[in-house]
């Protein structure tokens, strides 16, 4: 029990230090977003709770671009129980959806949250849950789960709010320590960030296991690049590739049993696939050119990778059945680092234009049409490391904004754009969006 308490204290410290560092800014929105009222939750307990569930839910829904939550000051009433609702208060505001709820303190550092979603015009409850009691530190995640439930009930699509991000922060030069690299995990809204790993050597290419329990990443040491797997629950680290061999660019297969990777050897780079049970590696490409950044199609039948075999880095697709390689990209000076949408219909990748600038592009694999998604501006440029949300609705990427490395996200239809500003001055790079975590 004491361990739990000290663990919690530590967790809260991390939270407190992280809380002020990130702000979300929605830079472009959608006019036809659905109005919704998320009423401040009722509260039964001693002191006021630190977490405003309704505000988190409203922020989540707004970030999706699909909803336009009503401002609290415009609400004519603030019901927290079904019996208190007067639907005409909401009908006259022309708000079709209403979320109410309450939070109760049920023990020391134990809170129970319940919520209900109503169809205002039909005066009908659409969904509602009483969540199991949690500690204070988990209330944000509870709020994200409520967002997921509301989003799914109304849009019919699964929400990706109760998911996580992994990213690297590269701290600035220190006297005795040229760089410091930290691997962070945060909630999908970049709140609750905490460092899980640190190194004086470059950590890069973090990637989630399909079940969300582990992260693979690469480290560049003076002896070469190696791939590691970090177990989030046990904090155990396993080195997958032997020292002396140089392996990089890890990519989990959809079933989690294999890992594609790039081997650096004799000035070249080739793709290999490792069986994670036997640790045996199988060569996939053999070419004098650079082949790297493999990524699996969700059906596990092909890999897309970056190769400069045509003279500049472009995307190619390897088919496991036929062993054939097909070139996918032809426009743009360079096209690199692809990843698949969860439904396998699209890839997103980095496109370098003639001016050397990076943008995020998506390709529809069926008709092979490409669309540049991210908009560069004087203030925001250098877009890289795109990563799909597990529901395929958004792509997060790293960008330079006013000279700082920040995270940004854009909806796959390009209509909603948002930026997660980092105030600490740390260089945030290489975001990786987790899979669904249940």
């Amino acid at each position: 029990m004491t361990r739990w308490i000290s663990a919690l204290a530590c967790w809260l410290c991390l939270m407190a230090s992280a809380q002020a560092t990130l702000t979300i800014e929605i830079t472009e929105g959608v006019e036809d977003a659905e109005p919704i009222a998320v009423v401040p939750f009722g509260w039964q307990g001693q002191d006021a709770p630190a977490v405003d569930i309704a505000a988190i839910v409203a922020a989540d829904l707004r970030r999706s671009g699909r909803f336009r939550p009503m401002a609290e000051k415009d609400m004519l009433a603030k019901p927290s129980q079904t019996a208190q609702i007067r639907f005409k208060n909401w009908r006259i505001m022309d708000v079709p959806y209403l979320v109410i709820g309450q939070m109760r303190e049920v023990g020391e550092n134990s809170y129970q949250v319940e919520f209900r979603l109503f169809d205002v015009f039909r005066a009908k409850q659409l969904t509602g849950y009483r969540m199991p009691p949690v500690r204070r530190a988990q209330l944000r995640m509870i709020a994200h789960q409520i967002s997921d439930a509301v989003y799914q009930e109304i849009t019919g699509e699964r929400g990706a709010f109760a998911t996580r991000l992994a990213y690297i922060k590269k701290l600035s030069k220190q006297a005795d320590d040229p760089y410091r690299y930290l691997l962070f995990i945060a909630d999908a809204d970049t709140e609750n960030e905490r460092p899980v790993l640190r190194s004086r050597n470059p950590i890069f290419s973090p990637t989630w296991s399909p079940d969300g329990s582990k992260l693979a990443y690469a480290v560049a040491r003076s002896t070469g690049q190696s791939i590691y797997v970090f177990n989030l629950a046990s904090k155990r680290i396993v080195q997958l590739t032997r020292p002396g061999e140089k392996f990089s660019a890890p990519a989990w297969s959809p079933d989690g049993r294999k890992m594609a990777m790039a081997k650096l050897e004799n000035g070249s780079s080739d793709i290999f696939v490792m069986d994670l049970d036997t640790l045996q590696k199988r060569r996939i490409t053999r070419h004098w050119a650079i082949d790297t950044e493999p990524t699996w199609s969700p059906d596990g039948k092909s890999l897309v990778f970056t190769s400069d075999r045509g003279g500049s880095p472009q995307l190619y697709q390897y088919d496991f059945d036929t062993g054939k390689v097909k070139r996918l990209t032809f426009e743009g000076k360079q096209n690199l680092r692809a990843s698949f949408s969860p439904d396998g219909r699209m890839i997103c990748f980095v496109r370098m234009g003639e001016d050397g600038q990076h943008t995020i592009a998506v390709m529809d694999l069926e008709n092979e049409t490409t669309q540049v998604l991210s908009k560069r501006s004087q203030q925001e440029s250098w877009h890289e490391s795109p990563t799909f949300a597990p529901n395929g609705s958004m792509i997060m990427y790293a960008a330079i904004w006013h000279g700082k490395n920040v995270l940004a996200a854009i909806s796959v239809d390009g209509r909603v754009h948002q930026r997660f500003s980092v105030k600490t001055g740390a260089n945030v790079q290489e975001p990786a969006w987790s899979p669904f975590l249940d």
């Binding site: 969540m131 890069f204 560049a220 002896t223 000035g267 780079s269 950044e293």
Partner: protein, 199 residues
């Protein structure tokens, strides 16, 4: 109600993650302690080791502005100036590249030939070649490109008398820029191979 049960189950792994996650704070990345002294020679920091280090103690090694100079200056034909010239070439440890290229530009040939000669004459000496890139292109692509640049230097050294086992290559991709910045004035110093001696 069934859905509620599903949500409850979903919460359990989260609870576990939080509990364990904060237990010991941040972990040190594996093998970290084993890498002491593995610091790269960022600002020509490998001085003091390697050829002719005792004779030329000044800090001019690999200074960015000087790398364009070549053997052309060493016009005097005396044995002494030739030796001086050789020593001066050996002090140059940085080879610069064009964007997305790994071929050795003519102005760096003499530097590499001098190092090849030195390695051939001193077979116990070991050399690590670090490959680096500018920030354009992705991290992993640049890891591979840095490796290719380092290997291009290694190949030329071997062709000119150095032994294969004297030389190892390592790429840092775009991770360790020599000059910070987002334009060609920085990029041109970052696309490089750095020769780091150890005995």
């Amino acid at each position: 109600m069934k859905q509620l049960a599903k949500l409850a189950v979903a919460l359990i792994p989260l609870v576990l993650m939080v509990g364990c996650g904060s237990k010991s704070g941040t972990s040190e990345e594996a093998g970290e302690t084993a890498v002491k002294g593995g610091k790269p020679a960022l600002e020509g920091g490998a001085m003091g080791r390697g050829p002719a280090a005792e004779r030329l103690e000044a800090g001019q090694v690999g200074q960015a502005g000087q790398t364009g100079e070549t053997a052309a200056q060493a016009g005097a034909a005396s044995a002494e100036s030739e030796a001086d010239n050789f020593a001066a070439l050996l002090q140059k440890r940085k080879i610069y590249f064009d964007f997305d290229k790994s071929d050795i530009k003519p102005e760096f040939r003499d530097i590499i030939l001098a190092h090849a000669k030195y390695l051939a004459e001193n077979p116990t000496v070991k050399l690590t070649i670090e490959g680096h890139c500018d920030e354009r292109g992705t991290r992993e692509y640049n890891m591979a490109l840095g490796e290719r640049r380092a290997f291009a230097v290694k190949r030329m050294l071997i062709l000119n008398g150095a032994s294969r086992d004297q030389i190892t290559t390592i790429s840092y991709g775009e991770e360790r820029p020599e000059v910070e910045g987002h334009d060609e004035s920085a990029w041109k110093w970052n696309r490089r191979a750095v020769l780091v001696y150890s005995e």
